[in-house]
Protein backbone atom coordinates (compact mmCIF):
# COMPACT_ATOMS: atom_id res chain seq x y z
CA UNK A 1 0.00 0.00 0.00
CA UNK A 2 1.50 3.27 -1.01
CA UNK A 3 1.09 6.50 0.79
CA UNK A 4 0.79 10.17 -0.01
CA UNK A 5 0.58 11.39 -3.61
CA UNK A 6 1.61 7.94 -4.83
CA UNK A 7 -1.93 6.81 -3.90
CA UNK A 8 -3.17 9.07 -6.67
CA UNK A 9 -0.65 8.03 -9.27
CA UNK A 10 1.97 10.54 -8.26
CA UNK A 11 -0.50 13.44 -8.21
CA UNK A 12 -1.56 15.37 -5.20
CA UNK A 13 -4.86 14.24 -3.77
CA UNK A 14 -6.46 17.63 -4.21
CA UNK A 15 -6.22 19.31 -7.53
CA UNK A 16 -6.22 23.11 -7.63
CA UNK A 17 -9.38 24.90 -8.67
CA UNK A 18 -9.35 25.63 -12.38
CA UNK A 19 -8.50 29.29 -12.81
CA UNK A 20 -10.87 31.45 -14.78
CA UNK A 21 -9.08 33.18 -17.62
CA UNK A 22 -11.66 35.94 -17.91
CA UNK A 23 -12.07 37.46 -14.49
CA UNK A 24 -14.51 40.07 -15.73
CA UNK A 25 -17.50 39.41 -17.93
CA UNK A 26 -16.74 39.58 -21.64
CA UNK A 27 -20.20 40.75 -22.63
CA UNK A 28 -22.98 42.82 -21.02
CA UNK A 29 -24.61 41.07 -18.08
CA UNK A 30 -28.39 40.72 -18.17
CA UNK A 31 -30.03 40.75 -14.80
CA UNK A 32 -33.53 39.33 -14.41
CA UNK A 33 -35.56 41.73 -12.27
CA UNK A 34 -36.59 40.19 -8.97
CA UNK A 35 -39.73 41.61 -7.39
CA UNK A 36 -38.69 40.36 -3.96
CA UNK A 37 -35.53 42.45 -3.79
CA UNK A 38 -34.79 46.16 -3.97
CA UNK A 39 -36.54 49.16 -2.49
CA UNK A 40 -40.29 49.53 -2.18
CA UNK A 41 -41.81 52.39 -4.25
CA UNK A 42 -42.39 54.52 -1.14
CA UNK A 43 -38.90 53.93 0.34
CA UNK A 44 -36.05 56.15 -0.69
CA UNK A 45 -32.60 54.66 -1.21
CA UNK A 46 -29.71 55.73 1.12
CA UNK A 47 -27.63 58.70 0.15
CA UNK A 48 -24.68 58.03 -2.17
CA UNK A 49 -26.19 54.76 -3.35
CA UNK A 50 -28.14 53.77 -6.41
CA UNK A 51 -31.69 52.54 -6.49
CA UNK A 52 -30.79 49.70 -8.82
CA UNK A 53 -27.82 47.47 -8.10
CA UNK A 54 -24.91 48.25 -10.40
CA UNK A 55 -24.15 45.77 -13.10
CA UNK A 56 -20.59 44.43 -13.19
CA UNK A 57 -18.27 46.04 -15.66
CA UNK A 58 -17.47 44.10 -18.77
CA UNK A 59 -14.75 44.20 -21.35
CA UNK A 60 -15.06 42.56 -24.70
CA UNK A 61 -12.28 40.41 -26.04
CA UNK A 62 -11.65 42.89 -28.83
CA UNK A 63 -11.21 45.78 -26.39
CA UNK A 64 -8.99 43.74 -24.16
CA UNK A 65 -6.74 42.71 -27.04
CA UNK A 66 -6.53 46.27 -28.33
CA UNK A 67 -5.69 47.51 -24.89
CA UNK A 68 -3.06 44.86 -24.20
CA UNK A 69 -1.23 44.35 -27.44
CA UNK A 70 -0.62 47.98 -28.24
CA UNK A 71 2.88 48.76 -29.50
CA UNK A 72 5.05 50.87 -27.21
CA UNK A 73 4.76 54.59 -27.75
CA UNK A 74 8.52 55.19 -28.02
CA UNK A 75 9.41 53.02 -30.99
CA UNK A 76 12.95 53.42 -32.38
CA UNK A 77 12.75 55.08 -35.75
CA UNK A 78 15.53 53.10 -37.45
CA UNK A 79 14.81 49.40 -37.18
CA UNK A 80 17.96 48.32 -38.99
CA UNK A 81 20.14 50.04 -36.41
CA UNK A 82 19.01 47.62 -33.68
CA UNK A 83 21.29 45.15 -32.08
CA UNK A 84 20.55 41.42 -32.43
CA UNK A 85 19.43 41.28 -28.77
CA UNK A 86 16.98 44.08 -29.40
CA UNK A 87 15.67 42.32 -32.49
CA UNK A 88 15.26 39.07 -30.61
CA UNK A 89 13.45 40.86 -27.83
CA UNK A 90 11.15 42.52 -30.32
CA UNK A 91 10.39 39.22 -32.04
CA UNK A 92 9.64 37.61 -28.70
CA UNK A 93 7.28 40.49 -27.83
CA UNK A 94 5.58 40.05 -31.15
CA UNK A 95 5.19 36.33 -30.52
CA UNK A 96 3.74 37.00 -27.09
CA UNK A 97 1.20 39.34 -28.66
CA UNK A 98 0.25 36.69 -31.20
CA UNK A 99 -0.09 34.00 -28.55
CA UNK A 100 -2.12 36.30 -26.34
CA UNK A 101 -4.52 37.14 -29.17
CA UNK A 102 -4.75 33.48 -30.11
CA UNK A 103 -5.43 32.35 -26.55
CA UNK A 104 -8.07 35.01 -25.99
CA UNK A 105 -9.94 34.06 -29.14
CA UNK A 106 -9.65 30.36 -28.37
CA UNK A 107 -11.02 30.82 -24.88
CA UNK A 108 -13.90 32.91 -26.19
CA UNK A 109 -14.73 30.26 -28.76
CA UNK A 110 -14.46 27.57 -26.13
CA UNK A 111 -16.92 29.36 -23.88
CA UNK A 112 -19.32 29.84 -26.78
CA UNK A 113 -19.03 26.19 -27.71
CA UNK A 114 -19.53 25.13 -24.07
CA UNK A 115 -22.71 27.15 -23.90
CA UNK A 116 -23.98 25.69 -27.16
CA UNK A 117 -23.16 22.15 -25.99
CA UNK A 118 -25.03 22.73 -22.71
CA UNK A 119 -28.11 24.01 -24.58
CA UNK A 120 -27.96 21.01 -26.90
CA UNK A 121 -27.65 18.61 -23.99
CA UNK A 122 -30.67 20.14 -22.19
CA UNK A 123 -32.73 20.04 -25.38
CA UNK A 124 -31.74 16.41 -25.97
CA UNK A 125 -32.64 15.38 -22.39
CA UNK A 126 -35.98 17.14 -22.66
CA UNK A 127 -36.68 15.42 -25.97
CA UNK A 128 -35.78 12.04 -24.46
CA UNK A 129 -38.08 12.66 -21.49
CA UNK A 130 -40.94 13.62 -23.76
CA UNK A 131 -40.26 10.60 -25.97
CA UNK A 132 -40.72 8.14 -23.13
CA UNK A 133 -43.49 10.02 -21.35
CA UNK A 134 -46.90 8.39 -21.67
CA UNK A 135 -49.32 11.12 -22.49
CA UNK A 136 -53.04 10.52 -22.06
CA UNK A 137 -54.94 11.20 -25.23
CA UNK A 138 -56.52 14.66 -25.31
CA UNK A 139 -59.91 13.04 -25.96
CA UNK A 140 -59.76 11.05 -22.71
CA UNK A 141 -58.49 14.09 -20.87
CA UNK A 142 -61.45 16.16 -22.01
CA UNK A 143 -64.18 13.57 -21.56
CA UNK A 144 -63.43 10.79 -19.10
CA UNK A 145 -62.78 11.60 -15.45
CA UNK A 146 -60.03 9.42 -13.99
CA UNK A 147 -59.81 7.90 -10.54
CA UNK A 148 -56.98 10.24 -9.63
CA UNK A 149 -58.98 13.24 -10.81
CA UNK A 150 -61.75 12.20 -8.41
CA UNK A 151 -59.23 11.89 -5.60
CA UNK A 152 -57.68 15.28 -6.31
CA UNK A 153 -60.92 17.21 -6.01
CA UNK A 154 -63.74 17.20 -3.47
CA UNK A 155 -65.91 14.07 -3.60
CA UNK A 156 -69.13 15.95 -2.97
CA UNK A 157 -70.51 19.16 -4.42
CA UNK A 158 -71.70 21.53 -1.72
CA UNK A 159 -75.18 23.07 -1.96
CA UNK A 160 -75.42 26.31 -3.90
CA UNK A 161 -76.82 29.43 -2.26
CA UNK A 162 -80.12 28.94 -4.04
CA UNK A 163 -80.36 25.30 -2.93
CA UNK A 164 -79.55 26.25 0.64
CA UNK A 165 -82.27 28.92 0.58
CA UNK A 166 -84.83 26.47 -0.82
CA UNK A 167 -83.96 23.86 1.78
CA UNK A 168 -84.29 26.38 4.57
CA UNK A 169 -87.70 27.44 3.27
CA UNK A 170 -88.82 23.82 2.98
CA UNK A 171 -87.72 23.01 6.52
CA UNK A 172 -89.47 26.11 7.83
CA UNK A 173 -92.69 25.13 6.02
CA UNK A 174 -92.51 21.60 7.44
CA UNK A 175 -92.05 22.95 10.95
CA UNK A 176 -95.00 25.32 10.59
CA UNK A 177 -97.18 22.53 9.19
CA UNK A 178 -96.28 20.26 12.09
CA UNK A 179 -97.04 22.97 14.60
CA UNK A 180 -100.40 23.64 12.90
CA UNK A 181 -101.37 19.95 12.97
CA UNK A 182 -100.37 19.69 16.64
CA UNK A 183 -102.51 22.69 17.52
CA UNK A 184 -105.42 21.28 15.50
CA UNK A 185 -105.22 17.94 17.33
CA UNK A 186 -105.04 19.67 20.70
CA UNK A 187 -108.09 21.79 19.86
CA UNK A 188 -109.97 18.68 18.75
CA UNK A 189 -109.00 16.88 21.96
CA UNK A 190 -110.14 19.87 23.98
CA UNK A 191 -113.49 19.88 22.20
CA UNK A 192 -113.87 16.15 22.82
CA UNK A 193 -113.11 16.74 26.51
CA UNK A 194 -115.74 19.46 26.55
CA UNK A 195 -118.37 17.11 25.12
CA UNK A 196 -117.34 14.32 27.47
CA UNK A 197 -117.70 16.71 30.40
CA UNK A 198 -121.49 16.52 29.97
CA UNK A 199 -121.45 13.03 31.51
CA UNK A 200 -119.04 13.84 34.32
CA UNK A 201 -120.37 13.31 37.83
CA UNK A 202 -120.01 16.61 39.63
CA UNK A 203 -122.79 16.47 42.27
CA UNK A 204 -123.48 14.05 45.12
CA UNK A 205 -127.02 13.41 43.85
CA UNK A 206 -125.62 12.44 40.42
CA UNK A 207 -123.20 10.06 42.09
CA UNK A 208 -125.97 8.34 44.08
CA UNK A 209 -128.08 8.06 40.96
CA UNK A 210 -125.19 6.52 39.03
CA UNK A 211 -124.49 4.01 41.83
CA UNK A 212 -128.15 2.94 41.93
CA UNK A 213 -128.21 2.51 38.18
CA UNK A 214 -125.04 0.47 38.25
CA UNK A 215 -126.34 -1.94 40.89
CA UNK A 216 -129.85 -2.24 39.52
CA UNK A 217 -130.76 -5.77 38.34
CA UNK A 218 -129.72 -6.28 34.70
CA UNK A 219 -127.06 -3.55 34.74
CA UNK A 220 -124.11 -5.68 35.82
CA UNK A 221 -120.73 -4.25 34.92
CA UNK A 222 -119.18 -6.21 32.11
CA UNK A 223 -115.44 -6.76 32.60
CA UNK A 224 -113.68 -4.72 29.95
CA UNK A 225 -110.77 -7.15 29.78
CA UNK A 226 -112.90 -9.80 28.04
CA UNK A 227 -112.51 -9.11 24.33
CA UNK A 228 -115.89 -10.72 23.54
CA UNK A 229 -117.69 -8.01 25.44
CA UNK A 230 -115.73 -5.04 24.15
CA UNK A 231 -118.12 -3.27 21.88
CA UNK A 232 -116.80 -1.93 18.64
CA UNK A 233 -117.34 1.70 17.79
CA UNK A 234 -116.51 1.50 14.12
CA UNK A 235 -119.87 2.88 13.03
CA UNK A 236 -119.49 5.92 15.28
CA UNK A 237 -115.87 6.43 14.22
CA UNK A 238 -116.80 6.22 10.52
CA UNK A 239 -119.66 8.70 11.07
CA UNK A 240 -117.35 11.10 12.88
CA UNK A 241 -114.73 10.82 10.15
CA UNK A 242 -117.31 11.33 7.39
CA UNK A 243 -119.19 14.28 8.82
CA UNK A 244 -116.37 15.85 10.86
CA UNK A 245 -118.20 15.39 14.14
CA UNK A 246 -116.94 14.34 17.56
CA UNK A 247 -119.16 11.71 19.26
CA UNK A 248 -122.12 12.95 17.20
CA UNK A 249 -121.51 16.50 18.41
CA UNK A 250 -120.41 19.33 16.11
CA UNK A 251 -116.76 18.94 15.18
CA UNK A 252 -113.94 21.41 15.29
CA UNK A 253 -114.58 22.70 11.78
CA UNK A 254 -118.20 23.42 12.54
CA UNK A 255 -117.38 25.19 15.81
CA UNK A 256 -114.71 27.22 14.08
CA UNK A 257 -117.11 28.18 11.29
CA UNK A 258 -119.68 29.21 13.87
CA UNK A 259 -117.18 31.33 15.75
CA UNK A 260 -115.79 33.19 12.76
CA UNK A 261 -119.17 33.56 11.06
CA UNK A 262 -118.44 31.35 8.05
CA UNK A 263 -121.43 29.10 8.73
CA UNK A 264 -123.79 32.06 8.83
CA UNK A 265 -122.35 33.44 5.63
CA UNK A 266 -122.63 30.04 3.94
CA UNK A 267 -126.25 29.67 5.01
CA UNK A 268 -127.06 33.12 3.67
CA UNK A 269 -125.43 32.32 0.36
CA UNK A 270 -127.33 29.02 0.11
CA UNK A 271 -130.61 30.78 0.92
CA UNK A 272 -129.91 33.49 -1.66
CA UNK A 273 -129.14 30.93 -4.30
CA UNK A 274 -132.27 28.90 -3.44
CA UNK A 275 -134.40 32.02 -3.72
CA UNK A 276 -132.84 32.82 -7.05
CA UNK A 277 -133.61 29.33 -8.38
CA UNK A 278 -137.20 29.51 -7.05
CA UNK A 279 -137.73 32.84 -8.78
CA UNK A 280 -136.39 31.40 -12.03
CA UNK A 281 -138.79 28.44 -11.79
CA UNK A 282 -141.68 30.80 -11.12
CA UNK A 283 -140.83 32.90 -14.17
CA UNK A 284 -140.67 29.79 -16.32
CA UNK A 285 -144.06 28.54 -15.03
CA UNK A 286 -145.62 31.95 -15.61
Amino acid sequence: MVKGPAKYGGKSGTLPVVRQIFKKPIKPVERIPDKNSGYAPNVKEPRNSSREQKLPEFMTIKDRINKTVQLPKNQPTNINARTPEQKLKQEKAQLRRQYFIHSMNTEENRLKQEKLDEEKRIAFEKAQEEKYMVKPSPLAELTLPTLSSYLDGPLMRQRTKEETRLLKTKRNANRLNLEFETKLNRSSDLLQLYYSAENFITKESDLLKAVEEAFAPGNEVIPASNPEYIGNHYAEDVGDALFGTIDNHPGLGHVEGQLNGDNKKFKQEVAARANELLNQHKEVDA
Binding site: L147, Y150, L151, L155, M156, R157, Q158, R159, E163
Partner: protein, 162 residues
Protein backbone atom coordinates in the same frame (compact mmCIF):
# COMPACT_ATOMS: atom_id res chain seq x y z
CA UNK B 1 -59.46 7.91 8.75
CA UNK B 2 -61.33 5.14 10.51
CA UNK B 3 -59.58 1.78 10.80
CA UNK B 4 -62.91 0.25 11.85
CA UNK B 5 -64.42 1.14 8.49
CA UNK B 6 -61.36 -0.20 6.71
CA UNK B 7 -61.74 -3.41 8.73
CA UNK B 8 -65.38 -3.62 7.65
CA UNK B 9 -64.30 -3.18 4.03
CA UNK B 10 -61.72 -5.98 4.36
CA UNK B 11 -64.31 -8.35 5.86
CA UNK B 12 -66.88 -7.38 3.23
CA UNK B 13 -64.47 -8.05 0.34
CA UNK B 14 -63.58 -11.45 1.78
CA UNK B 15 -67.24 -12.35 2.26
CA UNK B 16 -68.39 -11.38 -1.23
CA UNK B 17 -65.51 -13.15 -2.96
CA UNK B 18 -66.20 -16.35 -1.05
CA UNK B 19 -69.78 -16.48 -2.32
CA UNK B 20 -68.63 -15.61 -5.86
CA UNK B 21 -70.57 -12.38 -6.36
CA UNK B 22 -69.91 -10.53 -9.61
CA UNK B 23 -70.14 -7.02 -8.19
CA UNK B 24 -70.40 -5.44 -4.80
CA UNK B 25 -71.11 -2.01 -3.38
CA UNK B 26 -69.00 -0.19 -0.81
CA UNK B 27 -69.61 3.23 0.76
CA UNK B 28 -68.65 6.30 -1.22
CA UNK B 29 -65.85 7.97 0.69
CA UNK B 30 -62.32 9.12 0.01
CA UNK B 31 -60.77 6.23 1.92
CA UNK B 32 -62.89 3.64 0.08
CA UNK B 33 -62.14 5.24 -3.27
CA UNK B 34 -58.40 5.27 -2.60
CA UNK B 35 -58.38 1.60 -1.58
CA UNK B 36 -60.53 0.70 -4.61
CA UNK B 37 -58.19 2.57 -6.95
CA UNK B 38 -55.19 0.61 -5.62
CA UNK B 39 -57.07 -2.67 -5.99
CA UNK B 40 -57.92 -1.71 -9.57
CA UNK B 41 -54.35 -0.61 -10.41
CA UNK B 42 -52.92 -3.86 -9.06
CA UNK B 43 -55.48 -5.96 -10.94
CA UNK B 44 -57.43 -7.33 -7.99
CA UNK B 45 -60.75 -6.03 -9.35
CA UNK B 46 -62.07 -5.45 -12.84
CA UNK B 47 -63.91 -2.15 -12.45
CA UNK B 48 -64.80 0.72 -10.16
CA UNK B 49 -68.09 2.49 -10.87
CA UNK B 50 -69.99 5.25 -9.17
CA UNK B 51 -73.54 4.35 -8.27
CA UNK B 52 -76.30 4.33 -5.72
CA UNK B 53 -77.87 1.68 -3.49
CA UNK B 54 -79.81 0.43 -6.53
CA UNK B 55 -76.77 -0.21 -8.70
CA UNK B 56 -74.17 1.51 -10.84
CA UNK B 57 -75.18 4.82 -12.40
CA UNK B 58 -76.31 4.68 -16.03
CA UNK B 59 -76.04 8.46 -16.30
CA UNK B 60 -73.63 10.73 -14.43
CA UNK B 61 -75.12 11.85 -11.13
CA UNK B 62 -73.96 14.84 -9.09
CA UNK B 63 -72.98 13.97 -5.53
CA UNK B 64 -74.64 16.44 -3.17
CA UNK B 65 -75.41 16.50 0.55
CA UNK B 66 -78.94 15.34 -0.36
CA UNK B 67 -77.87 12.06 -1.99
CA UNK B 68 -74.52 11.34 -0.36
CA UNK B 69 -76.07 8.78 2.01
CA UNK B 70 -77.27 6.62 -0.87
CA UNK B 71 -74.10 6.91 -2.97
CA UNK B 72 -72.01 3.77 -3.39
CA UNK B 73 -68.92 2.58 -5.22
CA UNK B 74 -69.56 -0.55 -7.25
CA UNK B 75 -66.58 -2.88 -7.60
CA UNK B 76 -66.37 -5.56 -10.28
CA UNK B 77 -64.82 -8.64 -8.69
CA UNK B 78 -62.33 -10.79 -10.53
CA UNK B 79 -62.20 -14.58 -10.69
CA UNK B 80 -59.83 -17.06 -12.25
CA UNK B 81 -62.01 -20.05 -13.03
CA UNK B 82 -63.97 -20.53 -9.83
CA UNK B 83 -61.28 -19.05 -7.59
CA UNK B 84 -61.38 -15.41 -6.60
CA UNK B 85 -58.32 -13.31 -7.36
CA UNK B 86 -58.63 -11.78 -3.90
CA UNK B 87 -57.84 -14.57 -1.46
CA UNK B 88 -57.40 -12.71 1.76
CA UNK B 89 -57.85 -9.13 2.89
CA UNK B 90 -56.74 -8.32 6.40
CA UNK B 91 -55.88 -5.37 8.58
CA UNK B 92 -52.30 -4.95 9.81
CA UNK B 93 -52.77 -1.85 11.94
CA UNK B 94 -55.72 -2.31 14.27
CA UNK B 95 -57.71 0.32 16.13
CA UNK B 96 -56.25 -1.04 19.37
CA UNK B 97 -52.70 -1.29 18.00
CA UNK B 98 -51.64 1.10 15.29
CA UNK B 99 -48.35 0.28 13.57
CA UNK B 100 -46.39 3.22 12.22
CA UNK B 101 -43.13 2.34 10.48
CA UNK B 102 -40.30 4.69 9.61
CA UNK B 103 -38.70 4.80 6.16
CA UNK B 104 -36.02 2.19 6.88
CA UNK B 105 -38.53 -0.24 8.37
CA UNK B 106 -40.79 0.17 5.32
CA UNK B 107 -37.81 -0.65 3.10
CA UNK B 108 -37.04 -3.74 5.18
CA UNK B 109 -40.65 -4.90 4.86
CA UNK B 110 -40.56 -4.44 1.10
CA UNK B 111 -37.24 -6.27 0.93
CA UNK B 112 -38.87 -9.40 2.31
CA UNK B 113 -38.00 -9.10 5.98
CA UNK B 114 -40.27 -9.32 8.96
CA UNK B 115 -40.71 -6.02 10.78
CA UNK B 116 -42.43 -5.72 14.18
CA UNK B 117 -44.14 -9.06 13.69
CA UNK B 118 -45.52 -8.03 10.31
CA UNK B 119 -44.89 -10.88 7.93
CA UNK B 120 -42.78 -9.90 4.92
CA UNK B 121 -44.31 -8.80 1.64
CA UNK B 122 -44.97 -11.76 -0.65
CA UNK B 123 -45.05 -11.73 -4.45
CA UNK B 124 -48.39 -10.48 -5.86
CA UNK B 125 -49.33 -9.06 -2.51
CA UNK B 126 -50.46 -5.49 -1.93
CA UNK B 127 -49.72 -3.60 1.28
CA UNK B 128 -51.37 -0.21 1.72
CA UNK B 129 -49.71 2.51 3.76
CA UNK B 130 -51.16 5.76 5.03
CA UNK B 131 -48.77 8.71 4.65
CA UNK B 132 -48.96 12.45 5.14
CA UNK B 133 -49.98 14.09 1.92
CA UNK B 134 -48.64 17.04 0.02
CA UNK B 135 -52.03 17.72 -1.52
CA UNK B 136 -53.88 20.73 -0.29
CA UNK B 137 -57.03 20.30 1.80
CA UNK B 138 -56.29 16.66 2.61
CA UNK B 139 -54.58 15.31 5.70
CA UNK B 140 -53.50 11.90 4.44
CA UNK B 141 -53.04 9.76 1.37
CA UNK B 142 -53.12 5.99 0.95
CA UNK B 143 -50.24 4.58 -1.10
CA UNK B 144 -48.96 1.12 -1.78
CA UNK B 145 -45.71 0.10 -0.10
CA UNK B 146 -43.43 0.91 -3.06
CA UNK B 147 -44.97 4.34 -3.54
CA UNK B 148 -44.67 5.08 0.18
CA UNK B 149 -40.97 4.19 0.14
CA UNK B 150 -40.44 6.37 -2.91
CA UNK B 151 -42.20 9.25 -1.18
CA UNK B 152 -39.91 8.93 1.86
CA UNK B 153 -40.80 9.41 5.49
CA UNK B 154 -42.85 7.23 7.78
CA UNK B 155 -46.31 5.73 7.32
CA UNK B 156 -48.99 3.68 9.03
CA UNK B 157 -49.25 0.18 7.58
CA UNK B 158 -52.96 -0.32 7.04
CA UNK B 159 -53.79 -3.61 5.39
CA UNK B 160 -52.59 -6.35 3.09
CA UNK B 161 -54.37 -7.95 0.15
CA UNK B 162 -53.35 -11.37 -1.15
Amino acid sequence: MSLTRLGNLCAHLQNVTRVNLATTAIPYSRMHLEVASHLYKQGFITSVQKGSLNGPDLKPVDVTPDNIASRRLWLGLKYRGTDSVIRKVSLISKPSRRIILDHDQLKLLAAGKSVREIKPLQPSELVLVKVDTTKRNFSYEILDLAEAIERGGSGEVLCRIK
